[in-house]
Symmetry: none
Subunit: 184 residues, 2 copies
DNA sequence: CTCTAAATTAGTATCTGGTATTAAAGTAAT
DNA sequence: ATTACTTTAATACCAGATACTAATTTAGAG
């Protein structure tokens, strides 16, 4: 019977947890539109540990080192993702991301968050950024929460146009148009 | 009455937890030779959060911090700089910068190197990226050395146009045009 | 359409590491 | 002995799970 839903969902589950290891099972269940038991079953099948163990590992700094998850380098926490359609990620600007004299976030962090999200939207094993046109609307300060929303605006063959808008409390601080290539 | 035992014990408690945030109350109780309730009371008095919250905090702090992008002030090594004119930086692509399945560097590192360099060309206290148009010409692999060259192509008031070309052994892998604002 | 196996959901008991609260001892100084 | 502080105990509750069993849903083959 092997419903295609299962493996797809498990892939998605991986992405969610890779993108944000702080998610509980019930949050994941809600995001995936399945019951909490299914999430646990999937985690078990993928041998992904529970939230608390993941946090322990992250805290120890060993997360992703030995993990079967092969954690990607993510900037921002993934909070919503419909591969092939849209996604949302949140980044809280910390001290290390800022120019220490001004507490303004360095542009490449904002870019990195958007880029990570844009790439993850493309539902293939590997996706690479080809070109991008980006614009920083205003400086972002330490402590602010940047919410990046991305959607695929066009698709042709293996090329995707992804638009990302990043906001701090309804104020747009960044916009970008990314051309992403999907690699088979 | 203020027994000396209490404040001494609380000091010790602080040290224990600072030295190892992974300790449970019962472990601490055992170490301090008091009951678990006393430990909780002490934690409460010192407003030290419970184990799980401590782990969350540690995890939050270290999550992504492993990343070169978060740790380092600068992406790339500056090897030449004439402020207001041109500059060169070199970045050796390390394992952490790549998608581990393919060993291809994630775009935002290449961008970060270029952005850092572009910003540093502008000879003021603070400079911020306004807009950028960038293009990744080919994937960059783990171990390759990326040499980014930047020059100021135009200047008007506090706005600078900086062009960056990044190469791996004479092969252009990235080009970008940055509009940088100088802040007084 | 029915049968069947896989997939999903439900339900219950149990665990850890706590919070929150109330109460009961212990201790030490005046 | 009284008073104030300190410590321990006891109980109810919570989040976020594990572990297990069972029922229900769903898809596909015959």
């Amino acid at each position: 019977m092997k419903s295609p839903g299962k493996s797809k969902r498990q892939e998605l589950l991986c992405k969610y947890i890779e993108g944000n290891p702080f998610l509980t099972d019930s949050e994941l269940a809600h995001m995936l539109g399945v019951s909490i038991q299914t999430v646990r079953l999937d985690r078990w099948g993928l041998s992904i540990p529970e939230l608390r163990k993941r946090l322990r590992e992250v805290a120890r700094g060993s997360y992703g080192q030995v993990s079967a998850l092969q954690k990607e380098e993510w900037i921002g926490d993934l909070v919503d993702l419909e591969p092939g359609r849209q996604g949302v990620s949140i980044l809280e600007v910390s001290e290390e991301m800022t120019l220490n004299s001004t507490k303004v976030a360095r542009g490449h962090y904002i870019f990195a968050q958007a880029n990570c999200l844009a790439v993850s939207l493309v539902n293939t094993k590997v996706a690479l950024t080809g070109t991008a046109k980006i614009s920083f609307k205003r400086p972002v300060y330490c402590g602010e929460k940047v919410i990046a929303r991305a959607f695929i605006s066009r698709k042709k063959d293996n090329k995707f146009i992804v638009r990302v808008t990043s906001k701090v409390q309804d104020e747009t601080i960044f916009q970008g148009k990314f051309l992403i290539f999907a690699i088979a």
